[in-house]
């Protein structure tokens, strides 16, 4: 399979996940008040499309990677599977004991995929660091981390603006703004680290 360059992979995943976030906040809530079942299905499942594309991109990247990269992916997937499994079973036990209602449980279920992606990314970054690969940081050939974080922050700002001006939903607006500010903090951290490393290298 053709090797996907880190820059191309980063760009495509960012675009897909941006579309996912926008769909989750702008389209998915429409499912509750949809007039009929087919429309409800369309609204509820539309965000799955960019997720499937992301999964396909990941599969393509892993299949096209070399043996060391495959090892780091395997470690990342192992960490992701462990974290997600524990999260799922704890949530399942609590839901079965009726600590949460059905709606809260469904919200937890929605967070399983993002949690898997996050823990996979952290696991892979740690494994890559052990081999001196510098995945997810500025030594890699992909997009610099501070740009990645700034881009994601921009997406959440757009979502906050849409939620504030069109739907007036304060809960979504505050959530999106909180995410945006956290991501800006991350961008500043990675930006300063990059600048310090470059200054040290000179």
């Amino acid at each position: 399979m053709t090797r996907l360059s880190p820059r191309t992979y980063d760009r495509r995943v960012l675009i897909a996940m941006s579309i996912y976030v926008v769909l989750m906040i702008c389209v998915w809530p429409l499912a509750r008040n949809a007039a009929n079942i087919p429309l409800k299905l369309v609204y509820a499942l539309t965000p799955v499309v960019p997720l499937l594309y992301t999964v396909w991109l990941m599969a393509r990247r892993i299949l096209g990677s070399d043996e060391l990269e495959q090892r780091t992916h395997l470690i990342g997937i192992g960490v992701g599977a462990a974290v997600t499994s524990v999260f799922s079973i704890v949530t399942g036990f609590l839901a079965a004991a009726k600590v949460f209602d059905l709606e809260t449980t469904s919200i937890f279920l929605i967070w399983i995929f993002p949690l898997l992606m996050l823990s996979y990314g952290i696991g892979r970054a740690l494994a890559a660091r052990r081999y001196g690969l510098g995945a997810c940081d500025d030594d890699s050939d992909g997009m610099p981390s501070y740009i990645r974080f700034m881009y994601a922050s921009g997406i959440f700002c757009v979502v906050a603006a849409i939620a504030y001006f069109y739907s007036g939903d304060e809960r979504i607006t505050s959530f999106a703004l909180g995410m945006a500010s956290s991501l800006v903090t991350g961008a500043v951290f990675f930006g300063v680290r990059r600048w310090l490393r470059r200054r040290k290298a000179q």
């Binding site: 990677s65 070399d66 043996e67 060391l68 990269e69 052990r130 081999y131 001196g132 690969l133 510098g134 890699s140 050939d141």
Partner: protein, 62 residues
């Protein structure tokens, strides 16, 4: 495991990227092998040996 990959590469005037392309691996993997942070699999070690026309044990030392 120590190895002489960097010397062999530099003797030929190749960059890590050039060697990575010849071995069909990433530049970072070449760097990890050169710095002894990663020991390559047997098939990759054979590819390296074949590329430099040497025995595996001449390139890699336990």
């Amino acid at each position: 495991m120590n190895n002489h990959l960097r010397e062999l590469r530099e003797q030929r005037g190749w960059s890590q990227g050039d060697l990575a392309e010849r071995l069909d691996v990433s530049r970072q993997t070449v760097n990890a092998i050169e710095t002894s942070k990663y020991d390559p699999s047997l098939p990759l070690a054979f590819r390296i040996a074949k590329l430099f026309r040497q025995q595996i044990e001449q390139i890699f030392e336990p």
